[in-house]
């Protein structure tokens, strides 16, 4: 048939024929049901205890995100959304198209949808990394032992680029969550689905850090090291995930910015070394070429490469927040006098702004008054890669549920 079954609750051979029945089944559980929270808690423990998690912090991060205290918190938030007129029901059958190069994304996508009561089909690419397959295997093991109907409410497949299979799945999709950037979104959206299918494409995005120079300058040695450690975390996974900042905008005067930057980048390099951040030679060369190209073009004011791990190129100016797709520890930085000056640099593609030095009201003002076409999340340094409810401008609680409105006027009393 072309697709490899990674997990199916019912006999694997029958998946294609059973698709209609699978998709049309009742919600696995009510959203955030006790059984779902138990399942997540068990899964979380199993992953964090696995040997693979010790070597791969991203597995730990996923396990952390589904631990009981976290799922309870999410349940409370979800319940607060409902009201006398509003009941949030699962959408039904959600088909997830996982990205081939972010190992844990399929799991986040699936878990969020499952917690909200949906039935899920997860499509994995043919080429997966060992980390991804390690996670799959633990997930499948737990699904096999999970209580019904959860065990039968998930189907995980792997296949190459095959519009026929995608069409077959899409015919039953109430939602298609499409990870993998512009190309994936274009490809999947090009395959017909139901007229009512909601398509959510997580397209190519880029991210920035906006730092207040005086706030960074005010950090003492240990504060700076901790801060640098958080920043280093934001550069994980080769800085290739779209939420990793690649451009740094400093807000402040020239002298205080220069001093703060030098101090910070040295500390970040030390933290990267401590985390054994490794940059393959071909990537180190790419960074050198990118820096040299910027320098040759005349836009570089300063260059700092304390090691193979980190290259920071200070630019004279930027017209828009776009950065060369280099990664592996490559940052370009620019300075502005005031936070408001950043507004005109922000385009639609900007997803995450990692920020330090402003209060929430100040940031709200910046977003509201700046009428920014981009920036979908502002998070503290260290949280760039933390997946959450609000992503790419969507509130997943609403994306993955159907709002059922019960008019008060229907009530005779």
């Amino acid at each position: 048939m072309g697709a490899e079954i990674v997990y199916a609750g019912s006999p694997a051979t029958a998946w294609d024929g059973a698709l209609a029945r699978f998709a049309a089944g009742p919600p696995a559980f009510p959203a955030f049901a006790g059984e779902l929270l138990d399942f997540c808690s068990d899964l979380s423990t199993a992953i964090s205890r696995s040997p693979a998690a010790r070597r791969h912090p991203e597995l730990q991060a996923f396990a952390f995100s589904i631990r009981r205290s976290q799922t309870l918190r999410l349940r409370a938030q979800f319940e607060a959304l409902a009201g006398t007129s509003l009941v949030l029901q699962p959408r039904g059958c959600v088909v997830h198209f996982a990205p081939s190069h972010v190992d844990t994304m399929f799991a986040y996508s699936w878990v969020w949808s499952a917690l909200l009561g949906n039935r899920n089909i997860v499509r994995l690419s043919r080429r997966r990394s060992p980390v991804s397959m390690e996670l799959e295997s633990i997930v499948c093991e737990h699904l096999r032992e999970a209580a019904e109907p959860l065990a039968s409410a998930t189907l995980i497949l792997s296949y190459g680029h095959d519009p026929d299979i995608t069409a077959r799945l899409s015919a039953h999709a109430d939602v298609r969550l499409i990870w993998g950037g512009d190309e994936a979104a274009r490809a999947i959206k090009g395959v017909p689905a139901k007229p009512s299918t909601l398509d959510v494409g997580f397209v190519d995005r880029l991210s920035v850090a906006i730092l207040r120079a005086s706030a960074v300058a005010g950090l003492d040695e240990s504060g700076l090291d901790a801060f640098a450690g958080l920043f280093a975390r934001d550069l994980s996974l080769d800085q290739a995930v779209c939420s990793s900042p690649r451009t740094v905008v400093w807000i402040g005067r020239e002298d205080e910015t220069a001093a703060a930057a030098t101090r910070l980048w040295r500390a970040v390099d030390r933290q990267l070394a401590a985390r054994r951040y490794s940059v393959p030679p071909v990537a180190a060369v790419s960074k050198m070429v990118a820096a040299a190209a910027l320098a040759a073009a005349g836009n570089v004011r300063a260059y700092m490469a304390p090691s193979n791990r980190l290259t920071v190129v200070g630019l004279n100016g930027l017209t828009a927040l776009d950065s060369p797709a280099v990664g592996w520890g490559f940052l370009q930085e620019v300075r502005k006098e005031r936070l408001q000056d950043v507004a005109r640099l922000v385009g639609q593609r900007v997803q995450t702004a990692v920020v330090f030095g402003w209060s929430t009201p100040e940031l709200r003002d910046f977003v509201a008054n700046g009428r920014l076409p981009g920036i979908d999340r502002m998070v503290p340094v260290g949280d760039a890669l933390v997946f959450g409810r609000y992503w790419d401008g969507f509130d997943l609680f609403h994306t993955l549920t159907r709002a059922v409105f019960i008019s008060a006027r229907a009530d005779p009393h």
Binding site: G181, P281, V285, N308
Partner: protein
């Protein structure tokens, strides 16, 4: 000593110490020369290197990563002096490298090639078979640049492959009939020569009086598992070709050719040198320690290509004590820098060298 004088010497008889003493002042002044004439180069120097500076060792000289030639047009001559610009992409899908040549530099490069190959080819022209298709002459990739560089050595020369890269047997047979009993040259890209030699296996072609000069890496995965020894063995046994010499060079430094000795190692000629650098620290690696290859050449005057960090891994085996008797550093190429698997949300292409 000038570059011209350096080229007049026997290219493989200089002790490394003596060569360094001659090459260093030339490279140091080339650095200053390009800094004064190529604003983009000056900006790179001022940004990424201590500049201004004079350099006490070859290792201290600034270098440009070869990929920069694909991103910027670097010229140290005014437009009216430009003789030709080599536009060459090593791999498909990338922007081409731009190498700006004025007439003097182009002539110097041609002379250098002749002086370096003199070791294995001798003076004067010999009949030559080019193992490629004539159509290549009009293209602009590294292969065509190399062929055009070699053609002056052949008189007459024929192309052994037709447009579909299959052996043109009648032409080859005719050539061998006329010239096959006396010394002649064969030139080609390594992977094409390999294919040719295997295709010609049962045709009884006799290349016993030929000298093969080949260059270029192995293109396909299957070909990459072929060792230098296997290659030479195939040449010997399938077409009776005994004298085989590989050379390493690049479009960004035409004329600067690192020629294989009889011992199978590559040697730096008098007008050039190599350094191998540790890719973590960029410091020079120890002997027998692999690293990223940097190539130095006293030839490029019209563009700042005299000190270039390549995207190849190499290892230097020794200095001045090469088994075949040539002096200077001798080394081997280990291959391109391995590609890095991409991560991230977009299903983007891998970072490749």
């Amino acid at each position: 000593m000038t570059v011209d004088e350096l080229l007049s010497l026997d290219q493989f008889s200089l002790d490394h110490g003596r060569k360094t003493a001659l090459l260093l002042p030339l490279l140091d002044s080339l650095t200053a020369h390009h800094a004064a004439r190529c604003p983009a180069y000056l900006r790179v120097l001022e940004t990424m290197w201590p500049w201004p500076a004079r350099h006490e060792t070859l290792e201290a000289l600034p270098y440009l990563p070869v990929g920069l030639f694909k991103q910027a047009r670097l010229a140290s001559v005014p437009p009216e002096d430009v003789f030709t610009v080599i536009h060459s992409s090593g791999t498909t899908g990338q922007w081409p490298s731009q190498v700006v040549l004025d007439r003097p530099t182009a002539q110097l490069q041609a002379r250098a090639l002749a002086r370096v190959l003199h070791d294995v080819v001798g003076r004067g022209r010999l009949p030559m078979i080019v193992i490629d298709a004539e159509a290549q002459l009009r293209a602009s990739h590294a292969r065509s640049v190399a062929i055009r560089g070699m053609l002056p050595f052949g008189r007459p020369s024929i192309f052994a492959l037709n447009d579909t890269l299959e052996p043109d047997l009648p032409a080859i047979a005719d050539f061998l009939d006329h010239y096959g009993r006396r010394p002649f040259l064969v030139f080609g890209f390594t992977s094409l020569v390999w294919q040719f030699v295997r295709a010609a296996a049962d045709m009884g072609l006799d290349f016993s009086t030929a000298t093969l000069i080949h260059t270029g890496g192995w293109k396909t995965l299957e070909e990459r598992s072929v060792s230098n020894d296997q290659f030479k063995h195939a040449c010997r046994t399938l077409v009776n070709l005994q004298r085989v010499f590989n050379f390493y060079g690049m479009v960004e430094q035409p004329g600067s050719v690192f020629l294989e000795g009889e011992d199978g190692f590559l040697y730096a000629p008098a007008c050039a040198d190599v350094i191998v650098r540790d890719p973590e620290t960029w410091q020079p690696a120890a002997l027998n320690e692999p690293g990223v290859l940097q190539v130095l050449s006293a030839l490029p005057a019209s563009y700042p290509g005299h000190s270039v960090l390549t995207e190849d891994l190499a290892v230097i085996h020794g200095i001045d004590d090469g088994p075949c008797g040539r002096r200077g550093k001798y080394f081997s190429i280990l291959g391109r820098l391995p590609r890095a698997e991409p991560r991230g949300c977009s299903n983007i292409a891998a970072v490749t060298a």
